[in-house]
């Protein structure tokens, strides 16, 4: 690997923009409890326009919209990171084990992966979530369980090619076990693929969680941009959409965009045909 993907990410305009936006939203998510008042606090000042007391005004039950906007970042960033990491982890375990073990195990597992790949994840998510009504952590688990297949396929293909490399056969001659080969010799070389997979899954997870909240399946105790958009849409005939509906929509789009940009620039770094001359 002679291409430093990290450097490619920082060097390309798309990559830099993506990193900057994501960094900003992640910092907001970390420090939001110290910046604003309680996002759940209901007051009698309902549907107020922006003022010094409420920079983005208030909603129909008198909650401060700025507080809800900033704390919504926390939910989205957390869903992105956790669901992205969990589904990449499942993909890595399934893909590497299928590639290294082979035989009947590989056949059965890959058949299952291929079958699950054609199922539209968002529809199954709506169905299951409507019945189970998951909390945020349940939602993260559910999303991860529904979107690891694509990654597993790519990881397995790469593992099959890595398996034939000289250093892996050398390790095997020295008596290395399967687990040692997987962790020491295969996983490190898979890192770039896993990172790209993580970025894509994180983006899809944010989108799915927000979409689910938008159609009305969300933990009511959770402050999220999807829920904000859903409630604000009921009042679109009021001028309130300018400070109630647009900010969470723009923040959500920015977060998804940041993952999209990072993924695009990483993929470009890996595909020499698309790399700039």
């Amino acid at each position: 690997m002679h291409v430093s993907y990290g450097r490619q990410l920082v060097r390309s305009g798309f990559g830099r923009t993506g990193l900057a936006i994501f960094g900003l939203l992640a910092v907001v998510a970390l420090v939001c409890p110290f910046l604003v008042r309680d996002p759940h606090l209901q007051t009698v000042q309902v549907l107020e326009a922006p003022s010094a007391a409420h920079l983005l005004g208030t909603n129909d039950v008198g909650q401060d919209l700025l507080a809800r906007l900033l704390c919504g970042a926390r939910t989205s960033v957390l869903v992105a990171l956790c669901a992205g990491a969990a589904s990449t982890f499942i993909a890595a375990v399934v893909g590497v084990s299928a590639g290294l073990i082979g035989g009947l195990y590989e056949k059965v597992v890959m058949r299952l992966v291929d079958a699950l790949l054609v199922i539209p994840a968002i529809l199954v998510l709506i169905l299951v979530a409507a019945y189970v009504e998951p909390t945020m952590w349940g939602l993260i688990l559910l999303i991860s369980a529904l979107q690891w297949q694509g990654g597993a396929r790519i990881v397995r293909a790469q593992t099959l090619s890595l398996k034939e490399r000289a250093h892996v056969s050398a390790a095997k001659t020295f008596g290395a076990g399967g687990l040692h080969v997987a962790c020491r010799h295969v996983l490190p070389d898979l890192a770039p693929i896993l990172v790209v997979s993580f970025v894509h899954r994180a983006r899809r997870a944010v989108f799915m969680a927000a979409g689910l909240a938008f159609i009305g399946i969300a933990d009511p105790t959770m402050v999220s941009w999807g829920t904000m958009i859903r409630h604000a849409l009921d009042f679109y005939y009021l001028p309130a959409w300018k400070w109630w509906l647009l900010p969470p929509g723009i923040c959500l789009s920015l977060l998804i965009l940041s993952f999209l940009f990072m993924g695009h620039s990483l993929e470009k770094a890996m595909d020499p045909r698309l790399r700039d001359a």
Binding site: I122, A130, F207
Partner: protein, 322 residues
């Protein structure tokens, strides 16, 4: 081919099991899970007994599953206490609108995506290419429902050019040409949203494909023959560049657009499957929710399968490889 068929078979089976097991695995009365709290209140003891007997809820699970499959095979998706009608009838009333929306969105996004992709990829690195790439990449970060909301606010609320919701004017009593115009007017914003949401994917695919084709030797040959630029671009370049666009990857947009349309419909209260899902969630009308999701999932599976078949007949290399 057999192996692809098996994939869809397994996927279908997983969906069936999920639909069958979910309500029955929920804690509490299965009737409550199948119909929801509200419907349960409307039922008399006799209705409950009749439904329990009809579903065989007192029988072993494998018998219930057989029963479920048998009724499904006959097109019986259950009964909605909210709509006071069979679920299949409710869905039949909503499905055409979704098909109209997805169909028009798909045609628009494909045509625009291919045209822009070829022009942009051919002049890679030019101002046009950079501008389009940045603009469309940014557009693709917007979730479809937020794009819809933006269009709604701009053209519906602020400018007032287009109707805000629905698929036609309620109680308009229109027929003939005015009805067609009315339906089209209501279609513009939702279909426009789908166009914007799916144009970037189609565009990027065509652009990347055009970029790779542009360096091929036969393009140089065509140029050397002295052919005009547009002829080289469309007759020689585009034809090969189109391959991934019309085949598997490209047509998969069809199935993705079906799920995308569900969200867009909710924004515009467009009376298709998406609004049906939304309303049945609010009304806790579980039979309709389950039936709608089932039909939509089968629709997506069928589309994907059709794409797979088409892929094979369009690209002979795939057939030979087997």
């Amino acid at each position: 081919m057999k192996s692809r068929l098996l994939n869809y078979g397994i996927a279908f089976l997983v969906i069936l099991c999920l639909n069958f097991l979910l309500p029955r695995l929920m804690p509490g009365d299965p009737l409550q899970a199948i119909y929801g709290d509200e419907a349960l209140l409307q039922m008399t003891a006799e209705t409950k007994a009749e439904i329990t007997a009809r579903f065989g809820l007192d029988q072993p699970v494998w018998k219930q599953f057989g029963n479920y499959l048998w009724r499904l095979a006959q097109g019986d998706l259950g009964y909605s206490f909210y709509h006071k009608a069979a679920v299949s009838e409710v869905i039949a009333a909503h499905l055409p609108w979704t098909l109209l929306l997805v169909g028009s969105g798909l045609v628009l996004a494909t045509l625009a995506g291919i045209a822009l992709g070829i022009e942009s990829g051919w002049r890679r690195g030019s101002a046009l290419d950079r501008g389009l790439l940045t603009f469309l990449m940014s557009a693709s970060g917007f979730p479809s429902f937020f794009l819809g909301i933006l269009l709604l606010l701009l053209f519906g609320v602020t400018l007032g050019w287009l109707p805000l919701q629905g698929a036609r004017t309620a109680y308009g009593g229109l027929s003939g040409l005015p009805l067609v115009v009315d339906v089209l007017e209501h279609l513009v914003l939702p279909a426009g949203t789908l166009l914007l949401a799916f144009l970037p994917g189609m565009y990027l695919l065509t652009r990347n494909s055009t970029v790779t084709v542009r360096g091929e030797p036969y393009i140089l040959t065509a140029r050397a023959k002295g052919l005009p630029d547009w002829k080289v671009r469309y007759h020689h370049g585009a034809r090969t560049a189109m391959l991934p666009v019309v085949t598997a990857t490209g047509l998969l947009f069809a199935s993705r657009m079906i799920t995308g349309a569900l969200f867009v419909e909710i924004v515009f209260s467009y009376p298709g499957m998406g609004s049906l899902i939304h309303n049945s969630l609010i009304a806790r009308d579980y039979p309709v929710l389950q039936g709608t999701l089932f039909v939509t999932t089968v629709l997506v599976l069928a589309t994907n399968f059709g794409v797979d078949l088409l892929y094979r007949s369009l690209d002979p290399r795939v057939k030979d490889a087997r």
